[in-house]
């Protein structure tokens, strides 16, 4: 891997880290267990390692954003997570913040492209 690729990889990882939380919160209107969430997110283009997602779910639960329940009816016991009331509130605010970030970023990137086009 070239140095540029390595750097891009590292920066991309940092970039993704923050988006995972919003991604997870967006999918927990209905109860999901960890691995089903991995599949759902992956189907929608967000690849999360289980080793990252499971601890994250637990942290969000500890912060009071998620509620959890063990389901032992099926073949193997699974822990289902669901947005709590506080979680819904936090997600709604995060969503707005995210939209404004996207808007700002688009503006910034458009500008830089225009400048580059003008120069080059």
């Amino acid at each position: 891997m070239s140095e540029v690729d390595e750097l891009v990889d590292k920066l991309l990882q940092e970039l993704r880290r923050g988006t995972i939380t919003i991604g997870v919160l967006s999918q927990l209107d209905k109860p999901q267990y960890g691995y089903s969430l991995v599949s759902i997110l992956s189907d929608k283009g967000m690849h999360v390692e289980p080793g990252t997602l499971y601890p994250l779910l637990r942290r969000l639960e500890k912060q009071g954003l998620l509620e959890s329940k063990w389901d032992t009816n099926e073949g193997r016991p699974r822990k289902y997570y669901l947005l709590s009331r506080k979680g819904k509130e936090v997600f709604a605010q995060l969503k707005n913040e995210w939209k404004s970030i996207v808007g700002n970023m688009e503006g910034l990137l458009r500008e830089s492209e225009e400048t580059n086009d003008g120069n080059g």
Partner: protein, 336 residues
């Protein structure tokens, strides 16, 4: 599936007791889900398990994700202070033991080997103790998060205020670590001298390079009585040095504290020396006897005069030293 259990054990072992069972259960389910999906009905083999576990990451890494924070015995905030305290205390204890070794060797040079073995043993025991207790103290401060701001770099990490930034040290006001160390070691040296005073603190009479007898300056009986006060005085002196070290530079408050402590030392010393009872009352007689001088001779009067003069000079030197120390503190604190 044994490897799965080994993996789960390796992860949960690194987690707080209360979360272990829950996380173990969840991980077991996850690994089974992953195996099921990857194999699509094919029987599970060891290589499949290995692949899944490698994908999940090393147990230490996964456990760290679960804990959310790194764990320290002594964290990066406290570590510099930990190192410097450790260095200082070790230097002081090693010098104190060196002093005691030297004193014992002067007193009984024949058993130097014995003293040396003693020195090595107590060096080892004390160094271990010092290391353990300082580490325990800092580890406790780390664990409970109660480190005084002075130790952890001077200000609160989250709510820091620019006005709390420590000033760039002014070379002229700075308190040098070496000076503080010298002060403490000197106090200990003085204490050892006084403690062994009937052998050391007096006129040493040598015969063939061999300590024959000592005519002590101090009255052994009275000294034993006053020893607690002397310990107190040395302790106050050491507290003074340590507070100088913690302040790091001369300030108005430190100069005032220095004045108060020096005042206390002065009063204690005056109390210890009152009526000159602590002096050896027979000093002049004993010295004259050992030199074969009788009371009628002129030399006897000379010895007596010199003895009295020496006492007054020593007292004056002590008071002047205290005065200079106090005034220097104020001078350094207030000069620009």
């Amino acid at each position: 599936m044994e490897m799965v259990e080994r993996y789960i054990y390796a992860v949960t072992q690194r987690l707080p007791q209360g979360q272990r069972i829950d996380i173990a259960e969840e991980l077991r389910g996850l690994i089974e889900d992953m195996l099921e999906e990857r194999n699509d009905g094919r029987p599970v083999e060891n290589t499949d398990i290995e692949r899944v576990l490698i994908e999940l990451g090393s147990p230490a890494e996964l456990a760290e994700e679960y804990r959310g924070t790194s764990r320290f015995l002594v964290g990066p905030d406290l570590f510099p202070a930990y190192l410097s305290v450790m260095k200082m205390v070790l230097i002081i204890t090693v010098s104190a033991m060196g002093i005691i070794f030297a004193v014992e060797t002067i007193l009984t040079p024949m058993s130097i080997l014995h003293h040396f073995v003693d020195l090595l043993i107590s060096l080892f025991v004390t160094a271990t103790q010092v290391f353990a207790w300082i580490t325990a103290g800092f580890a406790a401060a780390q664990y409970f998060g109660v480190a005084p701001p002075g130790l952890s770099g001077g200000y609160n990490r989250k709510n820091w205020n620019p006005s709390e930034l420590p000033p760039v040290p002014d070379k002229k006001k700075q308190i040098k670590r070496g000076d503080v160390l010298t002060g403490i070691i000197f106090s200990i040296l003085l204490l050892v001298l006084v403690r062994f005073s009937n052998h050391l603190f007096g006129v040493l009479l040598f015969e063939d390079h061999h300590l024959e007898a000592t005519i002590p300056f101090l009255n052994e009986e009275k000294l034993l009585e006053l020893m607690p006060l002397i310990y107190l005085m040395v302790a106050i002196g050491i507290v003074k040095e340590i507070s100088k070290l913690m302040a790091g530079r001369w300030t108005k408050n430190l100069a005032i504290a220095n004045l108060v402590i020096n005042g206390a030392i002065f009063l204690l010393a005056m109390f210890i020396l009152r009526d000159q009872a602590i002096l050896n009352p027979d000093f002049v007689q004993q010295l004259s006897d050992s030199w074969g001088i009788s009371k009628q001779q002129e030399e006897y009067t000379t010895i007596k005069t010199v003895w009295k003069l020496s006492y007054n000079l020593a007292l004056a030197a002590f008071v002047i030293t205290l005065l200079i120390d106090t005034v220097t503190g104020f001078y350094k604190a207030f000069r620009k």
